[in-house]
Symmetry: C2
Subunit: 307 residues, 2 copies
């Protein structure tokens, strides 16, 4: 990709904070600040780190002749393929948000089981209520990628029985991973569904009326995937019988007047799965790794869209 002996690597980062954290880079790296707002730098950019908050629409106006690789700070990249000019390589942020997002997922599960949201809203009252433990429960991991594996690691100490589900039935060293075609048989047997599937045609609206109806009373669904994986109207209809704890909604942001805020047993955080102190050291590590690979003349890691 570049000749590591003679050429400088041109890298852009979204703000000055990045420059301060990356002062110790290799001499061959030319590091500049660019936050993806026009104008695009006039020189060729080998690696451009995308701001965490830029939407895929912001990629449309890029000149692909002067930008080789974009490093996103997000894991999901729905909508990017449609917006990105061809000729640009796009890498997602593997290893940055999985731990933080899985941590929030477990926080949402525990809070819903022990009704922490209710206690928080009742501040000043001493109303004791029985809660539901995670111990003795059957917990489905729906989606067994990076976040699913991190959720499993965190839930292991809680004494739950895990039921792993991915796109296709397979086995790994821990045993069976069910396929999504087995959901109708599995859903009635679980108390908890932890959702961490990528958004795709197959997963859009996956959590619909039939899905919810198959779950036992007082089951809880925890969603840290994408809001559109669930049919919001179906959730509103069945809230009260089943619970829903979610970091993602459809639409997003969820308008103040939306009925999902008001139905019982629904706990919502405003898409903050990746927004924890765990992010910055991990995204720094990813960018340093990419710079090293490019300096070595290797392809970058975690390419999800090739030129």
């Amino acid at each position: 990709m570049i000749d590591s002996m003679t050429i400088t690597l041109h890298v852009t980062v979204p703000d000055e904070g990045w420059v301060e954290r990356l002062t110790d880079l290799d001499d061959r790296v030319d590091l500049r600040v660019w936050d993806f707002s026009p104008p695009q730098p006039s020189h060729s950019v080998d690696l451009a780190v995308l701001p965490y908050t830029v939407s895929s629409a912001g990629l449309r106006q890029l000149d692909p002749e002067r930008i080789a690789v974009i490093q996103s700070q997000a894991l999901g990249y729905d909508g990017v393929r449609e917006a990105l000019p061809s000729g640009v390589t796009y890498c997602n942020a593997v290893g940055v948000h999985e731990e933080s997002t899985a941590g929030l997922a477990v926080a949402l599960l525990l809070a819903s089981q022990r009704q922490l949201d209710v206690y928080a809203r009742e501040r000043g009252q001493w109303n004791r209520r029985w809660g539901t433990s995670v111990a003795d429960r059957r917990v489905m991991l729906l989606g067994y990628g990076g976040i699913g594996i991190e959720m499993e690691k965190r839930l292991e100490g809680f004494g739950a029985e895990m039921v792993r589900v991915a796109g296709h039935r397979r086995e790994d060293e821990r045993g069976l991973i069910h396929g999504t075609d087995e959901l109708p048989d599995l859903l009635p047997t679980v108390d908890v569904v932890m959702v961490a599937v990528p958004l795709s045609e197959a997963t859009t609206g996956l959590i619909d009326d039939a899905f919810l109806a198959a779950l036992p009373d007082d089951a809880v669904i925890v969603n840290v995937s994408r809001g559109r994986v669930a049919d919001t109207d179906a959730i509103v209809r069945q809230a009260g019988r089943v619970r829903y704890a979610t970091d993602v909604t459809d639409p997003e942001p969820l308008p103040a007047v939306h009925p999902l805020w008001a139905v019982p047993g629904v706990l919502i955080t405003p898409h903050v799965g990746g927004m924890s102190s765990a992010m910055q050291p991990r995204v720094d590590r990813v960018v340093r790794g990419q710079i090293e690979r490019l300096l070595d003349g290797r392809d970058p890691h975690s390419i999800v869209i090739s030129p």
Copy 2:
């Protein structure tokens, strides 16, 4: 204690639900309902299961001539020694609440780190905030008995560094357990303190102004022990700089007008650590075990006060 070949074991349980769950007991067991309200049964009772909610004061009027062993459904027994007539054996409920209480402790920690209480109270608003992960943090387990060990088990998957502290410095197969005399040196180095010490003279008021002042900014203390382990006024004074997530208060119930409800960064649940679906199967198991031991002529398990 009793001759297992000829004598029936007289057992009392606090309500009819217990009788239904224990229908399959050994023929030699005479099972009756008594909730510890007067009058005490006129026959001798070999094992009396205490209602979960009876306070130690309710033990004063017992006739020790007609009651051999009391099985509590609680783990803590502060105040019992002073109230219990001599001649009665008192067993606490080891193996009943540890998992449930440790589960709530981790729930409180995660909720405070990710501000779930704030989101719950702001329902209807989409205010994204950065949170604090458990990953990369140094977490002190203050108290390393049953609950401390269960907390450790649950926190293991979160990528935190654990610092274990018990009454006296010792080693186990996992390495060093610090003594409480090392707290002044350790507190400035940790981000989280999980409190699960028994209430004693040594632990009353342990979390005082000096303890809190030694912690770094934005540290969080999670208390599932007893309210009096913390100096509530000190917490109120230092809230805002450090956070406090607690299932126990002093006094308890905490009056609606108490300032602890209103200060920032304080999350309170009304002493519900043991109140989860995990309790009933475990307390049933403990009582069945005690009946088996007494029928075999052995001493009961988990004696904390001998006659």
